[in-house]
Symmetry: D2
Subunit: 341 residues, 4 copies
């Protein structure tokens, strides 16, 4: 490759630092060479749970870690449940584990500590495009309670311990003419919740994550993340209250697929004595460089394209069921300390 081209690519990579190639912090973490090693400013914890569920916690402690991980400082809790499509008991187990993660992150922000939690759930994404419909589908399944607490009081909530859940699926900018952040900012100011819980479809780096992974973070939603482009941030900084982001990958960027295949192709070709030349040459580029080259070739011809499995409707339905059950379980356990143990 000519020098000028390499330079251009390098420059691009630097400018794109904040452009997220995967929305999953655990994938970003994995991408580091020699992934057993430690990354300064990043703590990684992994746990195996019942039913083959695996919990990964990536904690980005400071700006150093944020720079390396290309994600803001904060906690990223990930649940992987390979058997999610197998049946109801696997889904219930996953919902229970996810509820635990939600409670953990709420507790970290002192939400629901003294008073019942008041949460605005935001279903981000486009209900008309299946891979992007996760947020709106969760909203459809989630029972709202804020109006009942406010208008019925003790008649609805005898013990005074139900959470105040409100929610909205604002729709994407192409269908509202407004930034999602404008809408949510307005609603937050009027209804004053303790926290926003934003549910969104994510983009993963690897197709293995699709339909089996759920990530919860306390760092909000950032421009350019997610499947669609839900512009402008939803963060504690912009809204004045903590913003938990709960998402599940439903697509992989087309560039990532190509990169993975080229990578595998390289392995095959290296092993093949007669085609040795390939391994030597393309292998001489670093992975970053290879990826950017592929993206450079791909994007002008495609625009932003996504790869999605053909049974994405079934996968999104299962995910939305698990997530809505987990949110209910987490929020309705307030005032019942035994649940929290």
């Amino acid at each position: 490759m000519e020098k000028t081209r390499v330079r251009k690519v390098e420059k691009k990579v630097k400018n794109d630092r904040l452009e997220v190639r995967t929305d999953l912090a655990m994938e970003e973490r994995e991408s580091f060479p020699g992934d057993g090693g430690e990354i300064p400013g990043v703590i990684l914890t992994e746990k195996e749970r019942n039913g083959g569920i695996r919990l990964t916690e990536v904690e980005i402690l400071d700006e150093r870690g944020a720079g390396r991980m290309r994600k803001p400082v904060g906690a990223y809790l990930t649940l992987e449940a390979p058997g999610l499509a197998d049946g109801q008991s696997e889904q219930q187990e996953a919902a229970k584990e996810l509820a635990g993660l939600i409670r953990k992150l709420l507790a970290r922000h002192q939400i629901g500590e003294k008073e019942r939690p008041r949460i605005l759930v935001v279903g981000l994404g486009n209900p008309d495009a299946t891979p992007d419909a996760l947020g709106p589908m969760v909203m459809e399944r989630l029972p709202m309670t804020r109006h009942l607490v406010l208008t019925c009081g003790a008649e609805y909530d005898e013990e005074g311990e139900y959470p105040m859940i409100s929610g909205i699926s604002p729709g994407v900018m192409a269908k509202t003419g407004m930034e999602t952040a404008e809408i949510i900012r307005g609603i937050v100011k009027e209804t004053r919740p303790d926290a926003v819980l934003a549910v969104d479809a994510l983009a993963a780096r690897s197709v293995r994550r699709l339909g089996v992974t759920i990530q919860l973070s306390d760092t909000g939603i950032h421009p350019g993340s997610g499947v669609g482009n839900h512009r402008n941030s939803l963060t504690e900084e912009s809204l004045g209250i903590p913003v938990l982001a709960l998402g599940a990958p439903t697509v992989v960027g087309a560039a990532a697929i190509v990169y993975d295949t080229v990578d595998a192709l390289e392995e095959v070709l290296k092993a093949s004595s007669s085609l040795k030349g390939y391994g030597d040459t393309i292998g001489a580029m670093g992975p970053e460089e290879q990826y950017e080259l592929i993206r450079e070739i791909l994007e002008p011809r495609l625009g932003p394209m996504y790869v999605t499995p053909h049974d994405i409707d079934a996968r999104v339905e299962i995910l939305s069921g698990v997530i809505s059950r987990a949110i209910q379980e987490a929020l309705f356990s307030w005032g019942k300390p035994e649940v929290l143990k």
Copy 2:
């Protein structure tokens, strides 16, 4: 009827003054005995237009008129198009006439006079209950432009004369946990439109209105109106900008149906010599009294019930098409004075 009962009914009627039995001002107007006569503080104008379309303008001038009409001071423009289900040319004609009414009301509030109009369209109602889905269905068909004007500028809008349309279907309180008014108030404060145009399904007094009538007013949306109960007002007073309400009746209250039938029954029985007693007795009650008696009997046993035609899905689809076309036509004619003539 015993005196005490009559008293109770009378008292109820007085307390319910603001409870709207029909959302159509023209029906309220018609309900006055001897409807050729004038009502102080109310001006009525009627026009026949092409294609059998009839425009009625009820202008409530002052508090006297408002009290008699049980509707706020303002303009109520109604379009009746009996042939709306007949075909596309009838629907185009109706859309054209409705666009004229929208322009008229916008002009009255100086919107789009000097600068392009910036309108927030609100699709009120419940998308999952067909008779209440008119607002959300209009929103689905209406192209948004605000984000294009703001982000693409002249690339999108060469002459700088396109309107800035934004919009949202906030969903009903049972599914958001929030008053619609809270949501809209927040969005208005953040996005600063010139006016809100709220689209909603209405309740009529007579089934003859269903699917063929569209009403436009500049008095906003009031609690308890409409099919569902979209709580709290959306008015110029509460939002700080004019609120146009554009709606079409899709249901009739069950009490109204019963009342009409009893009324007709009375006529039949009066004509029948052998059953003369009935006409004398039930006829001795005033219409108000009869209606309230029926409602008293009906409501505790039914809860709020609505009467709706069995082809309501087709009617709502036609109405949403006409309304969305009319809104586009009205707003996109800004800066083209020849259209306004």
Copy 3:
């Protein structure tokens, strides 16, 4: 009333014998004066079950009974669960009871006796009109298994005891241009199930039934029943296999509402000494006569109108959940004799 009018009404009533005013056999049964008494050719059994659920079995034994009941010979099993909207445990209880009724009727027709049951579930009705969407909504929730049994065999179904469930929501005639019966007849001939289980929204006589009642019969679907007009019969006679009909009332005919109110009005007026005349005169007509008179007055002015509660979307969602769970439970218990006890 003049003689000629009465005659006309009487004649109409006779011609309309087969026109169903309520789709619920239990309501038809109740409509007989002195309803403790026995009707020749009809057996009535009632049971109280857990959770306030009430099961009513109306068995029409012969043509005599069919004539009196205006319904075909066969079994009509009804479940009433007043607490259906209260919560998940009530809904699970109802699903369990309904599963028992389904198994009972399948057993009566020897379906699943020696071999696994092969059932074609048909979701009748219009998915775009909420009160008529029950059938399609049940279909959306019900897992299909026929293709899995046929293509995956033991890999899917180790013990060889899963049912073969297939299903379709054919849509209404206005949207297919075909009679539902044509579509189903064709599919039955090609796929050869043991029985059809047709799920449909029904019309009740009383609003008290809406959202809390489910009826199962083995007499198929007849023209003019249901909310929409799903033309032509789906019966054992027309399809060659038993047709179970599973439905829940979501609407009441407008005429029925008026009749009930006039009835109540009569009571009130009778009690009121000053209006005694009314009770004497209108009360002098038989209920049949009164109802027909009301219908005669109502229909030409309204077309077929339905009364439906304003929270019909929530009610239909609950009903579709209970019905789909019950069907699964009933069919998947095949080969597990202990479940059948």
Copy 4:
């Protein structure tokens, strides 16, 4: 690459002859090296039309051509309209051209020659997965007329010249438990149309086709085509009547994307002197070989994955509008010979 691997790939290619890599005959045609040359048994005609629309007709004359093209004998008419997303006038122009193609293919099969055409439109695909929802979306927009002609006769159709359109969206096998072919075969036998017009989402080879291309053929629908896997054929052979297939590509197989990028990568690397080795080695494989290698690497890790643009909902909506308008225009012009000129 070792010899054995190459052999395996070669063998696979031969076995997969009938597996369609693109559903577009025009793309298959383009894939031949030196595509100016003629293919025996295949005739290619191209026309430029108004509005930048390009019509391509690929006629496969005999088995020789079918073998080369890996598509059945028949006509494949393709419309490309690059400006389809630009506005309504472009869409109307495209609908007009497409209507002409439909009339042409109907005429070739003598449908509507002496009597009005009786067409069963089948909306294939999964309404819940946006890229696969094209067929059901066309069905939603298309007015049905068969029942009106049959039941209303001259009242509906004064001149006796309206077409008899019926239609159904049968849903995918995962949601019906039945092969689509079983359902359609049954309906065809019962309702006896002259032809089936099957509308389906297609897979293209190049992303440039997505959202701008529509293909019409008279060779029916074949297993494994389309986005989902709508099993079993819908062909004249299996149904006894002509089967027109009308489709538009909404996805590209992931393998195709990778292949294209590797191809472009090769060009870049060839030009770069320092990485020359790559061009020599991977370039030494034939394109067939390269594609199969990529598919071999990709599929076991991904399952069948699709690439789709992120605004797929908007594109499918536009396509469904154009297709439904074209079908109406083509069928309603029967009996109006001037239209056909």
